[in-house]
Symmetry: C2
Subunit: 253 residues, 2 copies
Amino acid sequence: MRIGVFDSGVGGLTVLRAIRDSFPNVDLVYLGDTARVPYGTRSPETVVRYSVECADFLAEKGIDLLVVACNTASSYAMDVLKERLRIPVLGVVEPGVKEAVKLTKGKVGVIGTQATIRSGTYQRLLESFGLEVFAKACPLFVPLVEEGLTEGDVVERVVEMYLSELKEAGVDTLILGCTHYPLLKGAIRNFMGDVQIVDSSEAVASALKGEVTDEGKGTTELYFTDRYQNLEKMVELIMGERMRTLPAGIGSQ
Amino acid sequence: MRIGVFDSGVGGLTVLRAIRDSFPNVDLVYLGDTARVPYGTRSPETVVRYSVECADFLAEKGIDLLVVACNTASSYAMDVLKERLRIPVLGVVEPGVKEAVKLTKGKVGVIGTQATIRSGTYQRLLESFGLEVFAKACPLFVPLVEEGLTEGDVVERVVEMYLSELKEAGVDTLILGCTHYPLLKGAIRNFMGDVQIVDSSEAVASALKGEVTDEGKGTTELYFTDRYQNLEKMVELIMGERMRTLPAGIGSQ
């Protein structure tokens, strides 16, 4: 079985790794749109257009199932992608919400990019389960992680700036609604104290258990639309090993 | 006379405003590549490709002179753009350096995006004047400004984190090598104390004085490749008035 995974950049590799941990034998194809990251500050129309281009690229690689690892893309493009592709398409929002529903006592927080939070996709889905929802956009988290800053004074200040209101609201469960955020889990846990943290990457791997047969050659192909400066370092940081990275041409003229 | 100005996003509007202040009658056409901002984290090849697309778009609008307001693009793409276009092309690096040479007693600091600093363009040019140069990439400054954070605790911490070594080195002049940074000038000045600050946007307007005749209808056209969430607010913040913004299709398929 051949599974395609795309994200706006490298963050989705956390999802890829969780899938690999659960399914050692499937063949994985990853596309990171590093030439146009981040998606979280773009308009809905542009997010959908970029998502379609990424999905088409992976579809041409002969995948049997598509995982949309980017929360922003999952918030805006699922309907379009499901209609366009003739294979199962799974986003990160639904698995994260299901996990939160299992864990919470009633008050759920969700954090993500501006676009993800503004879409209201998480909020609507969580509220449909009768939960009280507190949502907060944290636009500096992605640049912090991309800069390699995951702890220390600056990180603590930024975490406090964004999460104070969720802490005061008394959320008992917090969804990390962006694939970069698991890398800040330590700082977030330190500040938030005793809350359940939902990491979508693990939730996605669990959600795949009904859909995926663990068969294949266990290959991993990584494509990126741009080979930027910290790329190899970020890939190693997340995947824990040197990976072969291939260029891709999406968005080029 | 019709002057084209492009930048990776909204930051170049600081340059546009400085040009308008000096030349009330010229016609100005601005392109902000908000669908692909930031350029400062991309590879040199991608920066050049995006720059060429922006320049071509403006060339089709019938401009007589092109200003590359983006420091990253000015660091990598000037040779290609000068060869490609049949009109004068001016970047922001050279005017900023000339201004610094006038002001400094010998120790110059330059700050910019990762790509700008890594290109070494500022450093080479400054060193050719026999100056001692201290360069530092400040990748969180752009996200801070885009988030509307230009003062306060978090900004002060980040400024301290990046600029401590330049302060300790005793630079007497600091070039703001990114069009977003003038919006952090207050915080930078507070931390750095008694240094001369070179704002490229003003330096560019001065450099144009030999090249530009102040004739035209005084029109301003603004194009953006994506209409993202804070766009109108940022345009107002920088231009100080409501401007008509038009969509553009660069990078679309």
